[in-house]
């Protein structure tokens, strides 16, 4: 199965692949942002592979890491082939503090909520998304909590020396 996917990717999207990664049997491809929809569509609709099930979309923030040089944010598409019982990952690296990426809503309806979650918690904008609004955080919360530069605490902890002061809110 690994070989089959590798061959498929090399034949159809040789320009789009940045590199292939293999971690303990988990096959993943880093691809260029522009090729994302073509790759997803190809994997979904290929007769042999049939990655029809989008399990999850998640994201990473490499802020402050040496990896940040390749782009601060990373979006990971977790695909599953029901026919082959095989799982693979498509990863995209994004530059800048306010990154944008194309939506996968037209391919999978489930991408709608998954992308809203990524937008809400990590602040990655999905262009073309029909309803890109908050999904989990409170409506009055400003910012994207899973970003590494988001404040870790809400109130300054109270010790013996500041117990009489009102709690200072950080956000």
């Amino acid at each position: 199965m690994e070989e089959k996917i590798r061959k498929f990717m090399q034949e159809n999207f040789s320009d789009g692949i940045v590199r292939e990664d293999d971690f303990r049997g988990q096959q993943s491809f880093y691809i260029r942002k522009e090729y994302l929809l073509d790759v997803l569509k190809g994997l979904k609709e290929d007769e042999d592979l049939r990655f029809e099930f989008l399990i999850d979309i998640c994201s990473l923030d490499w802020h402050g890491d040496s990896e940040e040089a390749n782009g601060r944010f990373e979006v990971i598409y977790n695909l599953f082939s029901l026919k082959n019982k095989y799982r693979m990952f498509i990863k995209v690296r994004l530059e800048g503090d306010n990154p944008e990426i194309d939506t996968a809503c037209e391919l999978w309806m489930t991408a709608n909520w998954l992308e809203r979650e990524v937008w809400d918690l990590m602040g990655i904008k999905f262009t073309g998304h029909p309803n890109l609004i908050k999904i989990v955080t409170p409506d009055d919360l400003v910012g994207h909590p899973l970003r590494r530069d988001f404040p870790l605490t809400y109130e300054v902890p109270r010790f013996s020396w500041n117990k009489d002061d009102p709690p200072e809110v950080i956000l």
Partner: protein, 167 residues
């Protein structure tokens, strides 16, 4: 006692406060509401092993209209806070609140954007039960402490507080 000797058998003299408080204390119905892991300990408290029916409060009311004790069992997220406030407002007076566990009392380890830092910022709490989560014995101790508090209440004060709260 002077007066009781002169009235017929089977009649007992007491104050209204004492009698009403006794009734309230002995039929306190908690709201069946679990928020987090503390709820598991709360459920265990109500189940047969710890058997809270010994204290006349084994019935968990699924409707706030029939409940008079709210046990805030666990962390309250910022999105849950309005719901909690609404449930509390729907409970008829007199009503009491137990804040169970570290998270409900002060936010616990969740000092972050998602969790209310202490349920006392939105509800008037009567008893705080510490622990993470508190054992059923601790919750029972808290409930007994609440009973002590109820015994000492006066109807007038309670009413005045209620009027003040409702504005």
């Amino acid at each position: 006692m002077g007066l009781e000797e002169k009235i017929p058998d089977g009649i007992m003299l007491t104050t209204l406060d004492k009698m009403v408080n006794w009734a309230r204390k002995r039929s306190m119905w908690p709201l069946g509401m679990g928020l987090a892991c503390c709820a598991i300990e709360m459920i265990s408290t109500f189940a047969s092993h710890y058997d809270l029916s010994r204290f006349g409060m084994e019935i968990l009311r699924p409707s706030p209209r029939q409940a008079d004790l709210m046990i805030v069992s666990g962390r309250v997220s910022r999105k849950m806070a309005p719901v909690l406030k609404r449930l509390y407002d729907q409970m008829p007076d007199p009503k009491w609140v137990i804040s169970m566990g570290a998270c409900a009392s002060c936010g616990g380890v969740f000092n972050n954007y998602a969790i209310v830092q202490g349920v006392d910022t939105i509800l008037p709490v009567d008893i705080y039960v510490p622990g993470c989560p508190p054992r059923p014995e601790q919750l029972i101790e808290g409930i007994l402490k609440l009973f002590k508090k109820v015994e000492q209440e006066s109807l007038k004060d309670k009413k005045e507080k209620q009027v003040k709260r409702l504005g």
